[in-house]
């Protein structure tokens, strides 16, 4: 009987360890080049490659999950996945709800795209994705803001004339300028504090693990190489 109890205890313990090793990575899958769904229907992009490398270094087994941007934080805190790796800028407001690892891209300016180069965003209607730093910025300026659930729709709003300009990360807008007469404005906005991985506040261990893995990628230059390859941001 005692043996039985011991072996069940051992089994429970080993199961506990096995469980800790699988990390579910939550992303949006609609924000090229950061994260997107490729032709094969799988998550791809800068963050896919980065995440896989981080997991390899931290010796974790990772699976990828896509979730709508709007509910990406609530689903993290209720435990449907363990990290957010979705081009999410580190802000004080988000930091109250979740924790962030150290940034894996430096703070970069956000850019505007419009149908002509002489559009003044301050006097017009600006599109942004809901619940982003860009939407928060426009609202704080008191300009006219139209919000959309997906990045694709914000650009479509400019094409259709519903909005005069769209404000988003420069690397994302780089993928759309040049098509359909879209041009980037010279004006940039210095907002956001770099992009980091979101983890639950109670998950200090996972945060430390990823912090160390990001640091090791920073130190040996692989992170900069990855940033350059995907053209997502400036390098460290």
């Amino acid at each position: 009987m005692k043996k039985l109890i011991l072996s069940t205890a051992a089994l429970a313990l080993s199961a506990g360890f096995a469980l800790a090793d699988t990390v579910r990575m939550g992303t949006e899958g609609a924000y090229a080049p950061w994260n997107f769904i490729n032709d094969a229907g799988e998550v791809d992009g800068f963050e896919r490659e980065l995440g896989d490398e981080l997991c390899k270094r931290a010796e974790l087994e990772c699976t990828w999950v896509t979730n709508e941007w709007d509910s990406i934080i609530p689903n993290l805190v209720s435990g449907n996945y363990d990290t957010i790796i979705a081009g999410m800028s580190i802000t004080a407001e988000r930091d109250e709800v979740i924790d962030f690892t150290q940034a894996y891209t430096p703070p970069d300016p956000s850019a505007y795209v419009a149908l002509s180069a002489d559009v003044d965003p301050a006097g017009g209607i600006v599109a942004a994705q809901a619940a982003t730093i860009q939407a928060g910025f426009i609202a704080a300026q008191g300009w006219t803001l139209v919000e959309f659930a997906t990045p694709e729709e914000t650009v479509a709003a400019v094409r259709s004339g519903e909005a005069d300009a769209v404000l988003a990360d420069k690397s994302f807008l780089d993928t759309v300028v040049g098509s359909d007469g879209l041009v980037m404005l010279e004006r940039m906005e210095q907002i956001g504090g770099g992009v980091g991985m979101g983890v639950r506040e109670s998950d200090g261990e996972l945060k430390a693990t990823f912090d160390a893995a990001i640091q090791s990628m920073k130190d040996d230059g692989t992170l900069n190489a990855l940033i350059t390859k995907w053209e997502v941001a400036s390098t460290f």
Binding site: G16, N38, G79, S179
Partner: protein, 288 residues
């Protein structure tokens, strides 16, 4: 998929399209049609069962049961679908995990609610975080079926409640005069006859259920509308072998055809069923 798809840039016209429409991403899109159809096929009978219990409970002579039935139909019908789908599913999921937590890890000392976080012991998570992705998807699908069944069951309960009352009182009295018990009269006389009165209302609900399936995405199930939006969006040549502009209109047009076709087929089926149920009934339109 096809041999000649290896280098899409060199392809043109029909060949390009045949390669484009058979990418892994498109396969996910086609698969999502099956998901939606499977959801409807499972949800409709489940919701009907919920409705039947709701209706029988609401007309029960036992007061607590009656209150339960009435409360279910009036509360669920009164809450907006979108609020129900956003709030209820997370609550349901957390409820399941909480119950498992109580059973599996009774010695767990840390609090489950830590600030914003909801933390049960790893063994109580549903599904386990080590489970493969398909189990997570099946679980999400199951939550979706349950939520749809609860919402549409409440409406069905109301329809069936009305239908049970519409069966002429004389029919029951006759049955009882023949010596049938309450239960026998209910199953042999009332239930077979109520469907005729219930069908128009249930048919309506079926149509609404078909149109409500895009709510699936709120539940984390990737449905046809999600994939249509994803596939139709502009893609830059840097990220795909098949770059194209904003094609969402075409994808949504395909969805329009699908939904219209599906509701039309349903209408015909409901009409046939109705004619069958009316056969031999002693009311206007029946008897033929």
């Amino acid at each position: 998929m096809f041999q000649y798809c290896a280098d899409p840039e060199t392809l043109e016209g029909f060949k390009w399209l045949s390669c484009y429409l058979t990418t892994g991403k498109h396969m996910n899109f086609y698969w999502s049609f099956l998901t939606v159809l499977a959801l409807l096929a499972i949800t409709a009978p489940t919701a009907l069962a919920f409705g039947f219990f709701g209706a029988t409970a609401a007309r029960s002579p036992v007061p607590p049961l009656r209150w339960l039935g009435k409360a279910y139909t009036s509360i669920v019908r009164g809450v907006p679908d979108i609020a129900f789908f956003l709030f209820f599913v997370i609550a349901l999921d957390q409820g399941f995990e909480w119950m498992r937590h109580q059973v599996i890890c009774p010695d767990w000392s840390e609090p489950i609610r830590q600030g914003n976080d909801f933390l049960v012991c790893p063994e109580a998570k549903l599904p386990l975080s080590t489970s493969p992705q398909w189990i997570h998807e099946v679980y999400g699908f199951f939550l979706a079926v349950l939520t749809f069944a609860i919402v549409f069951g409440a409406f069905a309960a109301n329809v069936l409640f009305g239908a049970m009352r519409a069966v002429p009182r004389g029919q029951i009295e006759t049955a009882e005069a023949y010596g049938m018990s309450h239960r026998q009269a209910f199953w042999r006389v009332l239930v077979p006859q109520m469907w005729m009165y219930a069908l128009p209302g249930l048919g309506n609900l079926w149509m609404i259920l078909i149109k409500a399936t895009p709510l699936l995405f709120l539940l984390g199930v990737e449905d046809i509308v999600y994939w249509a939006r994803e596939l139709g969006g502009t893609v830059n040549a840097r990220f795909t072998a098949y770059p194209h502009g904003d094609w969402r209109m075409w994808y949504f047009l395909a969805l329009l055809v699908f939904y219209l076709g599906f509701t039309r087929v349903s209408e015909i089926a409901i009409e046939r069923l109705n004619r069958r149920l009316l056969k031999g009934q002693a009311i206007a339109g029946g008897g033929s």
